[in-house]
């Protein structure tokens, strides 16, 4: 029925009597019984919508004479003020009372090129600091009749051509001039953008300023005229206008006596506002003198090496800051991948043995004064140049792993279209969310020591995505099976040689290794402990249950089997066990055992039969209580 985009909404011709396809500003009625049939649904949707996009009105007896008016996306965004999350405990009672009342603020913009719209958005974000609940309105399609209901109004508008309103403001301007609504009780301020090279500098803004005063509104702060370089004057205006308009109370009265207090509140400098003030603290650390050891690789010369650079850098600087400084001051050819300053998943590096995101980790977390900072590319990926690695293998693996949600038929609710929409309870959602709460799957791959030595191995970053998707209850049966098969396939979760190499990298590594260990458990059950992996777990458990200690001879025999044992003879493993390895202890008889009974053990020759630990029955009871499969 509607075609809604980011900045407009249009009504389809099929449901209109005039057969047009536009915003239906003229208010053409809806065809047939569309209005009556879907009226309730449209009203419901409109109510649920956080922005006012669709206007729907029933006329007459309401049966079939429905009129729709699709305004453009008049409301751009509603910004929830941080300060309302927790009301500051500081400040006078009067300020508390002011902050406790209605705090709505309308910010209207008239914009031709988007500058005024951008400033309106920025203004809205700052308004939240003063306990205001701002809503940004595009003047296009704005109902002039509602102007008076916005007791606090800020207008940001540019001027077009020779003192004309921008296109999106023209209709509203004409309407206001025609209707002259009373704006008594409205407090306002204007920020006008213009160009001094034109005669009618900022005229649209001054027109609105005069009109608002003429219609009875109260100007709480003088109009700000901004030239083409508008950032600075806008900042000055917003710093004064916002606290002033924030002092307008429920009744529309300006409480100017609270202005200084409001400014303090807005700046977050009050003594007891920490719980509601989400501005991050600025942490400055002292300068560190370090030696930087930097990996370099030039593909053209096929040459690798290390640069050693003495640096002095603030401890709070990130690794990326340091690399930028080196690139700027020492060697412009240094290549590294820049992040977004907030933990970019592809900004990974190995620094002093740690797998880190360069744009997130601070130097002081890695090295102390006088120390060495060794920076290398992320392990496991091919290096393109210097510190830049090629992630294409990751992308290829992910592409073939297909860990994203696919619309298989699945249980759950259905949408209006009839397609299924899976459901998930809160507890499962929390579990899955915790499992996938990793900063970078690319980094997770590098945490595995196996990843660098098995080019076919999917890696923990891919497997974790597959596993969490496979246990997501919204995933359909077919996709679940496909993912599970892939996890258990030749290059899947069994290819990880040692999860402890992943688990040691903080919470991300630990989360991933735990999750993938669970995947292994499920695979073991589904395959009934078959194959070498299953046999290893089964016989390890059994031997521990039998004696309290693991018997390596049993493991060796059961897991490798006769072919594996023969291979060890040909590969020289058995020979080294018996003759060549670094035997500095154990009776020589043990070596002879290997000749007499080849499946004698792993490494140095173990006992053939374990003696039982004391109170062995306690171990058996533990097995029987927890897991009777062994």
């Amino acid at each position: 029925m509607f075609l809604i985009t980011e900045d407009s909404s249009q009504i389809l011709a099929a449901v209109r009597t005039d057969g047009l396809f536009d915003r239906n500003v003229g208010g053409a009625t809806m065809s047939g019984s569309t209005g009556a049939d879907y009226g309730e649904m449209i009203l419901e949707a409109a109510e649920a919508c956080p922005v006012e996009i669709i206007k729907f009105e029933l006329q007459g007896d309401g049966a079939s004479e429905a009129v729709t008016e699709a305004a453009p996306a008049a409301v751009v965004a509603a910004v929830t003020p941080a300060a309302t999350a927790v009301v500051a405990t500081g400040g006078s009672e009067a300020l508390q009372a002011l902050l406790g009342g209605d705090r709505s603020l309308a910010i209207l913009f008239g914009s031709q090129t988007g500058n005024a719209a951008g400033l309106a958005e920025k203004t809205a974000k700052l308004a939240a600091n003063y306990g205001l609940i701002p809503t940004v309105y595009d003047m296009d399609g704005f109902d002039p009749a509602t102007l008076a209901s916005h007791k606090r109004t800020l207008i940001i508008t540019s001027t077009w051509g020779e003192g004309e309103m921008p296109d999106n403001a023209e209709t509203l301007w004409q309407s206001v001039n025609t209707q002259s609504p009373s704006l008594s009780g409205v407090s306002f301020s204007i920020c006008a953008i213009g160009d001094t090279s034109y005669d009618e500098y900022c005229k649209a803004g001054t027109d609105w300023d005069e009109k608002y005063v003429a219609l009875g509104a109260n100007r709480v702060h003088a109009i700000q005229l901004c030239n083409v370089d508008f950032d600075t004057p806008w900042s000055q205006w917003v710093a004064e206008a916002l606290p002033m308009i924030a002092c307008v109370d429920d009744s529309g009265t300006l409480q100017e006596v609270l202005l200084e207090e409001m400014k303090e509140y807005g700046s977050g400098s009050g003594e007891e506002v920490s719980s509601g003030d989400f501005s991050p603290a600025s942490i400055v650390q002292s300068e560190l003198s370090i030696t930087l050891s930097l990996f370099r690789y030039c593909p053209a010369a096929a040459d690798t090496g290390w640069d050693t650079i003495a640096c002095a850098i603030p401890g709070h600087a990130t690794v990326e800051d340091l690399l930028v400084a080196v690139q700027h001051d020492v060697d412009g050819s240094l290549a590294f991948r820049r992040g977004n300053g907030n933990g970019s998943p592809t900004s990974g590096l190995r620094v002093n043995g740690r797998i880190v995101l360069a744009d997130l980790i601070q130097i002081s977390d890695l090295v102390s004064d006088g120390g060495v900072l060794k920076i290398e590319p992320l392990p496991g990926y091919p290096v393109i140049r210097d510190l830049i690695v090629d992630y294409s293998s990751f992308e290829t693996q992910r592409s073939s792993a297909k860990p994203w949600m696919r619309a298989d038929p699945r249980d759950g609710h259905t949408l209006l279209s009839g397609s299924a929409m899976g459901t998930m309870d809160l507890s499962t959602a929390a579990t899955l969310h915790a499992m996938t709460d990793v900063v970078s799957y690319q980094l997770l791959q590098s945490m595995s020591d196996t990843f660098a030595y098995d080019s076919d191995y999917k890696g923990p970053g891919i497997l974790l995505q597959q596993w969490t998707r496979s246990i997501d209850p919204r995933t359909g049966d077919a996709q679940q099976k496909e993912l599970f098969d892939s996890i258990g396939s030749e290059h899947g979760v069994w290819s990880e040689a040692d999860f402890s190499s992943v688990a040691r990298y903080g919470s991300d590594g630990r989360t991933a290794s735990k999750a993938l260990n669970t995947a292994r458990g499920k695979l073991l059950n589904s395959t009934n402990y078959s194959g070498p992996h299953g046999r290893l777990v089964k016989w390890y458990g059994r031997s521990v249950k039998w004696s309290g200690n693991v018997n390596e001879t049993t493991l060796y025999r059961q897991v490798l089997g006769p072919i594996g044992l023969l291979n060890n003879i040909f590969d020289g493993v058995s020979a080294r066990m018996v003759l060549g390895f670094t035997r500095t202890g154990a009776p020589p008889f043990r070596s002879l055992q290997a000749l007499l009974a080849p499946p004698a053990g792993i490494g140095k020759i173990p006992k053939m039969v374990n003696s039982k630990v004391s109170a062995h029955h306690e171990v058996v009871n533990l097995f029987n209580e927890i897991d009777q499969r062994f």
């Binding site: 030595y453 040689a497 735990k514 089964k538 020289g572 493993v573 490494g603 020759i605």
Partner: protein, 286 residues
């Protein structure tokens, strides 16, 4: 006065790696460490049982820790994997009290002990450096090592909370200890890298390549021999080194020994074995 600590031999010191057991007892006696046996202690599951049942592995570990706790002692182990496994359970219990209570109830029902979080795990390396002190060890040296020695830590104990005050990612404790014992530590990059010990029997080529990478890295940096803090990784590094070299086409031939052996030799125990080792390292080379 001797320092008392409970001793957990791990999964192989009293089996395939019996030389570790040979050495730990005399070296502790020399340094005034009184090892208290835990005859009821069982295998910790070796991170293998965990793949089928994490709860069972945690219960086995909790029982061992509880046995030490009932004597009012921490646990000393020579195996990095065993130490890592105990630290895992300690951390899991600390983070999830209801899980800890649940497992403890089962352990109490079956073994009449409970782990209350008092007893902690200590690896021999951390215990020697932090509790005994390098000065005391240096003073006790009878046969200085006089070899270029690469230290292998592995990944199991190189994480926050499991490696004492040492740096988890760029550790130096073993190098400090080697220096105190009269040897020359060899720096190399892959000293914390896994050699894939848990998958030795199940994944062939990648594990061999991982093993070869560590050995060849140590060797190319000038090591005469490699000392391991992990009894389980020891098998990969030692018995499988020629196979690893073949698979990865790298020179991997090098004597391997466990930390307990290295310290015991320097403190004057088993001089004939030490002589044999020096011959292997300096003459035979593998």
């Amino acid at each position: 006065m001797a320092i008392k600590i409970a001793y957990y031999a791990g999964n192989t010191a009293r089996a395939a790696s019996s030389e570790v057991e040979d050495c730990i007892q005399p070296l502790c006696k020399t340094l005034g460490i009184d090892l208290i046996e835990l005859p009821k202690a069982s295998s910790d599951g070796g991170n293998i049982i965990k793949q089928s049942s994490p709860k069972l592995q945690h219960a086995l570990v909790a029982r061992n820790l509880a046995l030490a706790e009932s004597k009012g002692l921490d646990v000393l182990t020579t195996c990095a994997t065993s130490h890592g496994i105990m630290c895992d359970t300690i951390e899991e219990f600390r983070e999830d009290l209801s899980f800890a209570n649940h497992v403890n109830n089962i352990v109490a029902r079956t073994s009449s002990v409970e782990y209350m979080g008092e007893s902690q795990s200590r690896h021999l390396l951390h215990f020697l450096v932090e509790e005994i002190g390098l000065d005391k060890i240096r003073d006790a040296v009878i046969n200085p090592l006089r070899l270029n020695i690469a230290a292998y830590y592995g990944p199991n104990m190189q994480r926050q909370g499991a490696c004492g005050e040492d740096d988890p990612f760029m550790p130096t404790y073993m190098e400090q200890l080697i220096t105190a014992l009269g040897g020359t530590p060899v720096e190399y990059d892959s000293k914390c890298q896994s050699v894939g010990a848990p998958a030795l029997l199940t994944i062939n080529k990648p594990v061999m390549r991982m093993t070869a990478a560590v050995l060849s890295d140590a060797k190319s940096n000038g090591a005469d021999l490699l000392v391991s803090a992990c009894t389980i990784s020891h098998s990969n590094l030692d018995s499988y080194q020629s196979k690893a070299g073949k698979v990865a086409r790298k020179n991997t031939a090098m004597p391997i020994l466990h930390l307990a052996e290295l310290v015991a030799f320097a403190l004057g125990h088993y001089p004939e074995r030490f002589a044999q080792l020096r011959t292997r390292a300096l003459v035979i080379g593998g």
